[in-house]
């Protein structure tokens, strides 16, 4: 398969990141999608609690006030009113913050759809073929078959753990963050690229 030249790829990838930003309302970041999917249970609980609080704001504030008075005594009631005059008594301002919440399911659809996009590419370039290796070069560097599978498992754990620890990946830090000259992203991108280059050179020398 013949790949796009660097400038066609750059235009396509760059424009895609821009379109993603406008349509999704947030910068492109795949490790964030992973985090949302893997932690969908706590994410769901948080969303339910948020919705419950929004729907029952007055009751929740009354409950909190009752608990506060029970804990600290009636004397603090006047102090609380002074601190939050807008929220006192019946004149409560409702929060009207715009929510940009994306369900974990939509993040999962996004990641799985990448398989489809890649599959379409394969079909357009001579057809789809099942392969039990990444490449001959990869297999030759990995050693025996079980070593290749184990290497991919541990490599995958490093990718998953590392991107969460760094707070981003190639798309979040590399593409979105670097384009906005965010210092943390520039640093992270330099480190993960340098680490990948260093380790690949080591693999090449030792294989």
């Amino acid at each position: 398969m013949e790949y796009w030249s660097w400038w066609i790829g750059a235009i396509a990838l760059g424009l895609f990141a821009v379109v993603y930003g406008f349509l999704a309302g947030k910068p492109l970041g795949v490790s964030g999608s992973w985090m949302r999917i893997v932690n969908w249970r706590s994410d769901k609980e948080l969303k339910e609690a948020e919705t419950f609080f929004k729907d029952n704001q007055d009751e929740a504030i009354d409950d909190l006030m009752a608990e506060t008075l029970a804990e600290f005594g009636e004397d603090v009631a006047d102090e609380i009113k002074e601190l939050s005059p807008d929220n006192a008594d019946t004149d409560r301002a409702k929060t009207t913050t715009k929510s940009s919440y994306t369900p974990a399911g939509a993040h999962l659809v996004f990641l799985l759809a990448m398989v489809v996009g890649s599959f379409i590419t394969a079909m357009l370039h001579g057809g789809f073929e099942i392969k039990f290796e990444l490449s001959e070069l990869h297999s030759s560097m990995s050693g025996q078959t079980w070593e290749m599978w184990a290497g991919l498992l541990f490599g995958g754990i490093m990718v998953g753990f590392g991107t969460q620890m760094a707070g981003g990946c190639t798309s979040g830090h590399g593409l979105s963050g670097c384009a906005q000259f965010v210092p943390a992203s520039l640093f992270a991108t330099f480190v993960f690229m340098a680490s990948a280059i260093g380790f690949s050179l080591f693999m090449k020398l030792t294989s």
């Binding site: 235009i11 939509a106 590419t121 830090h173 965010v182």
Partner: protein, 137 residues
């Protein structure tokens, strides 16, 4: 439902673009990392430049990336770099490899799943610092 359709279209587009650039091909990734062929490195740098210019043209209306300097930045990025060199995959490329018919990518995806789950537990138990991870919602 609309959100799901938008994300499906975006995912298909991303998979299509990454596969056509060659990011799903381990040999191309390896050639980039051993500095034998810089085509994909230029592609990446060019894409970053285009997003930066788009941000200037749209007067900063593109969503802001909130990444922060935090203690996990150095060790996390190093781990990610090593993992990428071994698997040829970042968190999105494993899906693109699978779409090209590479069955072993399933193992990489399984590993990433374990890594992300494991980090949540380790972070809550030991680290507890703010990571500013990709998309907050």
């Amino acid at each position: 439902m609309k959100q799901y359709i938008i994300y499906a279209i975006l995912g298909i587009l991303m998979g299509f673009i990454l596969a056509n650039i060659g990011y799903a091909n381990y040999d191309e990734i390896h050639k980039m990392f051993v500095l034998e062929d810089l085509r994909m490195l230029f592609t990446f740098a060019g894409a970053v430049a285009i997003v930066a210019v788009a941000r200037l043209i749209t007067l900063g209306r593109l969503p802001k990336q909130n990444k922060i300097m935090q203690p996990g930045l150095l060790p996390g990025s190093m781990l990610f770099g090593f993992g990428w060199a071994i698997t040829g995959a970042c968190p999105s490329l494993a899906f693109v490899q699978l779409g090209q018919g590479h069955v072993p990518a399933i193992m990489t995806l399984f590993g990433i799943f374990i890594g992300v789950s494991l980090y949540k537990k380790v972070h809550e138990r030991f680290f507890m610092w703010e990571t500013g991870s990709c998309s907050s919602a």
